[in-house]
């Protein structure tokens, strides 16, 4: 396999220092440390096992003697073998989402949402889940670089000291600080201090996806009618989790008083929000703007918008208009005014200087020293800025970053940044709530935090992140109970009473106002969107996110030019055809992907791909859409030219077929219908055969009987269940080629179906884990009893008994089983030694040749059961939460004991919405679904 890229790391990992450090940090783990001897032994075992038939033993030699390594000094709170949880926060585009991090003997292994935190509410988004992989990313930069020379932090401090002398002389003329979006109170304080010290210095901020206007946040739970105009509020964003929770809370028909909201979405390309719409209008950007303006101006054109407007007016004060970033300011102003009653927070443009201004200064030769804190402008700046070229004109360039990326390559000095889970810091949520971030682990590659760097720049005596952050908060809380406040804040993961709806957070000012476009008839329009999983490119080197199938296209490892079926027909294009996209004198080559529900004559490209210095995972994937993106047209525009090249670029999708073929896999009805007769759901498909139809008696389960209910009405298809499961269960990444062969390993997949016409399809999501069928077809055909039922009705899969006939997978009608066709555990994504630290010690790492599948997170079930048994009490309802359910922001997944009629899951399964997938097969699945209800406007016929 592809060993080359890792060579250096392997060497690093085999150095005595590293091992020694490893033993010191993770004693019980050390014995499991893989070394070549083991690997050779594995191979020997393979050959010799032939000779050794007849023994229930593995290996041709006796079990090798292993070492066990205790601590020298054992930490106070630590009980070896039991996990600890710490509250901290992670940021996305500057905004904090509170998290709880699970730590085993000092290794962070899993991230969960912090229920106390307003932006998380206990749930998580895909980026939170994937962040743990970023922490251990073997490609992270490991040392301070001067040019290509490895040097030290002290050398840099020396340089900084020399510079400071100059700045004190010239008040910091020529000193420029470039950051991303900052909400960290401590950092803001430090920056303020720096600017105070050196008045002539300036601070610029750059976020490639920064909105061009103030951002406001609303209380969705209170909204009866929501109109989204190109705003994917259920998609990635600072308030995604809260929005999803609130939206779902108005979509449950299980509780008596079902007060549904109604969602209208007008958008150019399908988004999670559009998929949940009761009425969805697929409109190209120009048409979308007209649609919005029609509503804003109140003139009833086109027809549909009139109806929408009526509905809005009917619910004035209890309705929302959410407008997308790509739409003009006047529309935003109208919306803000309309939404005022439901506003809960707002961030407005502050006095931060823009990136455009920085460019101008550089051109004017005004910049002596440029300090770039994180971000990656060399890659994601508007292409017409030619930042990369101009940067060379800056005499001294210092960069702090997690990776030696495109930007670092252009700076003399690169400082390895410490990962959020390695540092002390703080950050604010969308509503201003502050969280003090605490480190879970010593910096793996002695990285430095922004605070430490700024301390150096300001000549602060306090140099450790801890002191800096603590001092800042001490200043905020001079009273003597600070110690209590500090500990409580750390414990809770939120700083009490920091939320403030009317607080003004510093936002990023726009690079330039886009010129107002006049519709160019017939011309194809171009639309830029952040990639749903790697965003502006910052997650490009995260294999979990790369392999996570993107909503709708289900593509992995690539971006594509999305076009509608009609447009494809008109231009005679097929999937995977490579075209040249020519936009205002610039061009890129991109593969085509035909997407039902995409607006006609509109090409959507996702930003974030085509990176060249992301790392071994993210390099040279997809195409770089930034190459078309200018400051004047940050969200695209009309006048796109599409030239067929005749080339072909294979894309790896995990769902090749997105029609339900008229099968009752997802049952959908309307609230009205359901209110009239709840049986409507049952009539939508086959009912399971009665027990009397079976030749065999049904097995009785005394004691617990675990089951799961998935509420399709609450699922927004955010994919977090898939990645949470991957993080919890040591699921390997297999890479594009294997995915293309149909060998992806996700235990829970989110199926995505288009229903109705390809132009205006209804879009449905369905998370599919193992059904844990009571009459499991898979078990029946296993020749070695590697998959059998537990006394609690779990469909057990025993890896170490599996011989790999794959018969079970063939006989699984839901196709939820996954097979280790190759030694994925040692492929180029998994074999980096440092990644072994990421493994969940409670879950077996599967070798090649064995089947695996969803276990309902049996490790969590067992842990809870043992805890309960040790305390001689019974397991409480809701005490066991599988990773998928815990992460789900819509709380669509509910797990529990179906033998207990009072449990939440039992009550859900009792609902008339509940149905079995493929019921007619009489598999008696333990996982069942609640049908999805729409709430369409009777006055508006389809869509």
């Amino acid at each position: 396999m592809n060993q080359q890229p890792w060579r250096s790391l392997d060497e690093f990992a085999d150095t005595p220092e590293f091992r020694e450090w490893l033993h010191r940090e993770f004693p019980p783990f050390a014995s499991e440390w893989p070394n070549d001897v083991n690997r050779r032994h594995f191979l020997k075992l393979m050959g010799a096992s032939f000779a050794l038939a007849g023994l229930g033993l593995s290996g041709c030699t006796r079990q090798p003697l292993e070492k066990i390594v205790p601590y020298v000094k054992q930490p106070e709170e630590l009980v070896p073998g039991n996990a600890l949880y710490f509250a901290t926060a992670l940021t996305l585009g500057g905004y904090a989402r509170g998290v709880l991090v699970e730590s085993h003997e000092g290794r962070p292994t899993k991230i969960e949402g912090n229920p106390e935190h307003p932006a998380s509410l206990g749930a998580s988004d895909v980026f939170m889940q994937a962040e743990i992989l970023n922490l251990y990313d073997p490609d992270r930069s490991k040392s301070v670089l001067h040019g290509n020379e490895v040097t030290t932090w002290d050398d840099l401090l020396a340089v900084v000291a020399a510079e400071r002398a100059k700045w004190t002389a010239n008040a910091g003329t020529g000193l420029r600080l470039l950051t991303g979006y900052v909400t960290s109170p401590t950092l803001l304080d430090q920056i303020a201090a720096l600017l105070k010290q050196f008045p002539a210095a300036t601070w610029h901020a750059h976020e490639p996806l920064a909105p061009l206007h103030a951002t406001t946040f609303y209380d969705l739970a209170k909204a009866d009618v929501i109109v989204s105009i190109g705003n994917d509020f259920l998609g990635p964003g600072p308030a995604q989790l809260k929005y999803t929770r609130d939206f779902a809370s108005r979509r449950r028909a299980t509780n008596e008083a079902a007060n549904f909201n109604r969602l209208y979405v007008a958008e150019s390309t399908p988004t999670n929000t559009g998929a949940r719409a009761d009425h969805r209008f697929a409109l190209a950007p120009q048409a979308l703007r007209d649609f919005g303006l029609a509503i804003a101006k109140g003139n009833a054109h086109p027809k549909s918008s009139a109806t929408v407007l009526d509905d809005l007016r009917k619910h004035a004060g209890k309705s929302l208009i959410l407008v997308g970033d790509s739409l003009p300011d006047e529309l935003h102003q109208f919306a803000r005014a309309w939404n005022q009653p439901l506003q809960i927070a707002q961030t407005t443009v502050s006095n931060v200087k823009s990136f455009a201004e920085l460019i101008r200064d550089i051109e004017g030769g005004k910049v002596e020293t440029l300090i770039i804190l994180d971000g990656n402008p060399a890659y994601d700046a508007p292409t017409d800025f030619e930042f990369a070229k101009k940067l060379a004109g800056v005499p001294l360039r210092i960069r702090l970053g997690l990776h030696e990326d495109e930007t670092s390559a252009l700076c003399q000095w690169h400082i390895p940044a410490a990962h959020p889970l390695e540092t002390w810091s703080d950050a604010r949520a969308f509503d201003g709530t502050a969280t003090i971030m605490q480190p879970l682990i010593e910096p793996l590659y002695d990285g430095k935090s922004v605070h430490e760097l700024l301390a150096a720049l300001t000549g602060n005596v306090l140099t450790s992140g801890y002191e800096i952050v603590r001092r800042f908060w001490q200043v905020q809380h001079p009273d003597d109970d600070f110690e209590k406040f500090w500990r409580r804040s750390l414990h809770d993961g939120v700083v009490a009473e920091t939320a403030n709806p009317f607080q003004v957070l510093p936002a990023v000012s726009p690079n330039a106002k886009p010129e107002v476009e006049k519709p160019a008839n017939g011309a194809v329009e171009l639309l830029f969107l952040a990639d749903p999983h790697i965003q502006d490119g910052r997650f490009a080197n995260n294999a979990w996110l790369q392999e996570l199938p993107k909503p709708f296209t289900k593509l992995t490892w690539d971006n594509a030019a999305l076009i509608s079926p009609a447009t494809a027909r008109r231009l005679n294009l097929a999937n995977e055809d490579v075209v040249e996209l020519k936009f205002r004198g610039r061009s890129v080559r991109a593969p085509i992907w035909i997407l039902p529900g995409q607006a006609d004559d509109c090409v959507t490209v996702h930003l974030g791909y085509g990176r060249t210095k992301a790392g071994n995972v993210g390099n040279n994937l997809g195409f770089n859409a930034y190459a078309l993106r200018t400051a004047a047209a940050p969200w695209g525009g009309s006048g796109l030219e599409i030239v067929k090249t005749g080339e072909h670029h294979p894309l790896a999708t995990t769902q090749q077929h997105q029609s339900m073929e008229g099968r009752d896999l997802i049952r959908v009805s309307t609230l009205a219908e359901f209110a009239k007769s709840p049986e409507v759901i049952a009539h939508l498909g086959e009912a399971p055969p009665t027990a009397s139809e079976s030749l065999y008696p049904t097995v009785k389960y005394s004691g617990h009987a675990w089951g799961m209910a998935i509420d399709l009405g609450a699922c927004v298809g955010c994919n977090v269940c898939s990645i949470a499961c991957q993080a919890e269960n040591n699921i390997p990444v297999v890479g594009k080629e294997e995915v293309a062969r149909g060998r992806e390993m996700h235990w829970i997949r989110v199926d995505n179906y288009f229903h109705g016409s390809p132009e205006t399809p209804r879009i449905h999501f369905q998370p599919v884990p193992c059904m844990h069928c009571e009459n499991a077809p898979c078990e029946l055909v296993c020749p070695v009893a590697a998959t059998v039922h537990s006394s609690e009705g779990l469909n057990q899969m025993i890896y170490n008994r599996c011989v790999g006939t794959r018969y079970c997978s063939n006989n699984c009608p839901y196709k939820v089983r996954r097979f280790n066709f190759l030694e994925y555990d040692r492929n180029k994504f998994e074999n980096a030694p440092v990644l072994k630290l990421l493994r969940n010690p409670d879950v077996t790492v599967r070798t090649r040749g064995v089947m695996e599948k969803c276990t309902y997170c049996v490790q969590r079930i067992n842990r809870t059961r043992i805890d309960a048994e040790n305390q001689n009490r019974s397991i409480r309802d809701g005490e066991i939460v599988p990773a998928c359910a815990q992460a789900c922001p819509g709380q669509a997944i509910v797990f529990g004991d179906i033998n207990d009629p009072q449990s939440r899951v039992s009550r859900l399964k009792a609902s008339p919405l509940n149905y079995d997938l493929l019921a007619e097969l009489n598999t008696r699945p333990r996982t069942t679904y609640l049908a999805k209800l729409q709430n369409p406007n009777p006055e508006l016929k389809e869509p």
Binding site: T698, E774, N775, A776, L780, V788
Partner: protein, 177 residues
């Protein structure tokens, strides 16, 4: 040939001659004799007074053993030793136990047939006195032989030889031990 005598071996040209010879020898009271032919000859065994074979019985026993073993093994392991809930099926899913029971029945019966046959035929027997006669190699190809053993109380070297010659043997040879 002065080695102690095993018997006299008469060579015949056709199976009919051999059959006739065998019958007459038997009529004369010869019992310890054997006939050899390149292919089975109707009635020859009866002619030399060979009671019916017990091969079928052995096969029956083999079959029964196989069937019982197979079903017993499946019942014991699936119901008694480690009862497992497999896809909600009963522990004693007898229909599923049938195929293997059948296969092992056939297997054991077949092996019983083969080894029973070999055993009763006293094979392998690489060395046998009759091979002492060089011409006996024709017995596996085209010629038919009748061997009267010296151990038979009717056996008198001279008379027996003379008797065999009268039966139209191409040749009568002495078989050493």
């Amino acid at each position: 040939m002065n080695a102690p005598l095993y018997g006299l071996l008469a060579e015949f040209e056709t199976p009919e001659k051999l059959l006739a010879a065998a019958q007459q020898a038997h009529a004369l009271g010869y019992r310890k004799m054997d006939a050899y032919s390149p292919f089975p000859v109707e009635g020859l065994t009866e002619a030399i007074g060979f009671e019916k074979t017990r091969v079928p019985l052995v096969v029956l026993l083999g079959g029964i053993t196989g069937g019982v073993t197979a079903y017993g093994m499946q019942y014991y392991s699936a119901v008694r030793d480690y009862p497992l809930n497999v896809g909600g099926r009963p522990l004693h899913s007898w229909p599923a136990f049938v195929p293997i029971t059948f296969e092992l029945t056939v297997l054991f019966a077949a092996l019983a047939a083969v080894f029973g046959m070999l055993l009763m035929n006293g094979l392998p027997k690489l060395y046998h006195p009759v091979f002492n006669v060089p011409e006996f190699k024709l017995a596996s190809q085209s010629r038919f032989f009748l061997c009267l053993k010296s151990s038979d109380e009717q056996f008198r070297l001279a008379e027996t030889r003379q008797f065999l010659e009268t039966l139209g043997a191409l040749a009568v040879r002495e078989v050493g031990r």
